[in-house]
């Protein structure tokens, strides 16, 4: 495994917000077809790392490569057709558009220039519509397909949020706290979904629920104060004294399957 080219790699990646260094020399390597989680206390820079990897914020220094190709200066929208898609920690949907249309757009984003033709209608057999249908099935949203995203329950909105990333059919999918604010049942379903996504995607996800992290990750990266603290398989990370200190010893409780 270790000799494989990583699908995504960050080399000494730093991000500054003004004078504040939110991400500092982060070096990370995501192996293809693995489930890789990022954990760390609030404000550790996890979301900022995602922002940098997906191009939402500019890296102040360092390099990002996708399959060995330098993408540090590729804009966020252009990274989607390269096979990177993400979901957000704070739900960000098209509130006034219905669920199907949200997902159709997310699927269309893979071929965005096709949508630039002002005369081209949406064919009922449109590929993007078919993908939207699939994703709705997968996330159990089919029964609300015609409801505006803004009218959905919190749990449904969180599922749709993840669905937006799935609909892009990425090779690498980044999920930022997919279970945040979810009820117990939804959390279990999301855990199953992430594990399932791991079969045909590379998954990078941020999660506070240690049960999920320790259970389904191949690799865990622990961050603190903008830096990588420890990285390794769940069992190693769990018992690392530094990690226990970072979490004040009381947050890592999930069992390892």
């Amino acid at each position: 495994m270790s000799t494989q080219t990583p699908i995504l790699a960050a080399d000494k990646l730093s991000v500054r917000y003004g004078s504040f260094l939110a991400l500092s020399d982060v070096t990370l390597s995501i192996k293809p077809n693995t489930i890789h989680s990022v954990i760390g206390p609030n404000g550790a820079g996890k979301t900022t790392l995602f922002h940098a990897l997906t191009g939402r914020v500019r890296a102040s220094s360092g390099q990002i490569t996708l399959d060995g190709r330098d993408i540090t200066h590729v804009s966020d929208d252009k990274r989607v057709p390269l096979g990177i898609a993400r979901s957000f920690q704070v739900t960000s949907l098209f509130q006034n558009l219905n669920v199907r249309e949200n997902l159709r757009l997310a699927a269309q984003g893979r071929n965005p220039l096709q949508a630039l033709a002002p005369w081209r209608g949406v064919d009922p057999r449109d590929h993007a519509l078919a993908v939207a249908g699939e994703v709705m099935e997968r996330l159990e949203l089919t029964h609300v397909s015609d409801r505006a995203a803004g009218e959905l329950s919190h749990g449904q909105q969180r599922r749709l949020e993840v669905g937006m990333a799935v609909a892009a059919k990425p090779r690498l999918i980044l999920l930022d706290e997919p279970t945040s604010g979810m009820g117990i049942d939804d959390v279990e379903a999301m855990k199953a979904l992430i594990r399932n996504l791991g079969r045909d995607h590379t998954v990078l996800f941020i999660e506070h629920n240690m049960g999920i992290v320790m259970n389904i990750s191949d690799t865990v990266t622990v961050m603190r104060a903008g830096r990588v603290l420890v990285e390794g398989p769940p069992a190693v990370v769990r018992d690392d004294p530094e990690v226990r200190r970072a979490y004040l010893g009381n947050m890592i409780t999930g069992d390892i399957a």
Binding site: T54, R56, S75, D76, D77, K78, V80, P81, A85, R86, F88, S92, L93, F94, Q95, N96, L97, N98, R100, E101, R104, L105, A106, Q108, G109, R110, P112, L113, Q114, A115, L116, A117, P118, W119, R120, G121, V122, D123, P124, D126, L129, D146, M164, A168
Partner: protein, 331 residues
């Protein structure tokens, strides 16, 4: 019948009804010309979420382009109109390209600044534009075998163009492009995150809006035989925006209502009371405070209040993301 066909039918009804109820062919033509400009403005405001104070630039330049070609060359009318549309599109692309670099208030300020800039440009180059006097004596050549000299025949010509453009704009609005614009309006950040080069979409919307507005400006210059400085004035941008907002930004037909209302009411009031703009200001306040869906929203409520009121299918504020079964047709 789907929503788009219904709205097209309503637009056609307006085009047919105006000659029956109005005495002046000039005023009737003006209604449809401004309906085109307002619908083009709506593509930016209602569909893309861009409040552009630059619409008067495209309108005015369309007037000048048509006037100059018809005064100085002997090209056919159709070509002069196409040139005006191209002028509108090209300038709108430039104005859009620069303005969308900023968002919100700063975007609006930039379009406003461009509006002033082009006004003074037109004012300064008097030799070309006629300055304060405008470009005078613009001829209205025949189109093929049809003379357009009489005001109602010109109206017929305008009405045909209006319906063609209305259908074309409807097509744009319901295309994957138009639906992506709605997404941009709703959540620009997310639209970018799922892969859409949002700026290209906004610029394209500007270009289309500019083309239609430029053509409307050309038709207006032909209508009155003059390309006046007021067509490129900041007040033109303002009037087009007011028509769009009064009509409602939820769909394109609302802009036809807004333009019709504005043009006819200003004509009525200006003859009886010189301070009629006060009333218009008052109405704008009422719309902003109490009826954000504009005249169209009011119409919807009236229709619903009827005893056999239609189902609430007419209810939602913007043409909703179309169901896959119900569309696939052009207009």
């Amino acid at each position: 019948m789907n929503r788009a066909s219904l709205h097209f039918l309503l637009a056609a009804l307006v085009a047919i009804a105006l000659p029956l109820f109005m005495r002046s062919g000039t005023l009737a033509s003006e209604v449809l010309i401004f309906a085109m400009a307002a619908a083009a403005c709506n593509l930016l405001l209602g569909y893309t979420g861009l409040l552009s104070f630059g619409q008067g630039i495209f309108f005015g330049l369309g007037s000048y382009a048509a006037g100059l070609t018809l005064l100085h060359t002997s090209v056919p009318l159709a070509l002069a109109l196409v040139l005006s549309a191209i002028t509108g599109a090209v300038v709108a692309t430039g104005v859009g390209w620069l303005s969308i670099r900023r968002q919100g208030v700063y975007f609006v300020m930039l379009t406003l600044a461009f509006s002033q800039f082009f006004y003074f440009l037109a004012y300064t180059f008097k030799d070309i534009t006629g300055g304060d006097n405008g470009l005078l004596n613009i001829p209205r050549p025949a189109i093929g075998p049809f003379s357009l000299g009489e005001s109602w025949t010109y109206y017929a010509f305008v009405a045909v163009l209006f319906l063609l453009l209305f259908a074309a704009l409807q097509r744009v609005a319901s295309s994957t492009f138009g639906r992506t614009l709605l997404a941009v309006r709703d959540n620009e950040e997310r639209a970018r995150a799922i892969g859409f080069p949002v700026r290209n979409f906004k610029i394209t919307a500007f270009a289309i809006s500019g083309a239609v507005t430029g053509l409307a400006g050309a038709l207006h210059a032909l209508l009155i035989g003059v390309a006046p400085l007021s067509n490129i004035d900041y007040h033109m941008s303002e009037s087009i925006l007011i028509m769009t907002i009064i009509g409602g930004t939820g769909n394109l037909f609302a802009s036809v209502l807004g333009a019709g209302f504005y043009v006819i009411v200003s004509d009525l009031l200006s003859s009886i009371w010189p301070r009629w703009l006060l009333l218009l200001g008052g109405l704008l306040i009422v719309v902003a405070l109490f009826m954000q869906k504009g005249l169209w929203g009011l119409l919807e409520r009236l229709v619903e209040a009827l005893p056999m009121g239609r189902k609430s299918s007419i209810n939602s504020s913007i043409e909703p993301p179309i169901q896959p079964e119900s569309e696939g047709r052009g207009i």
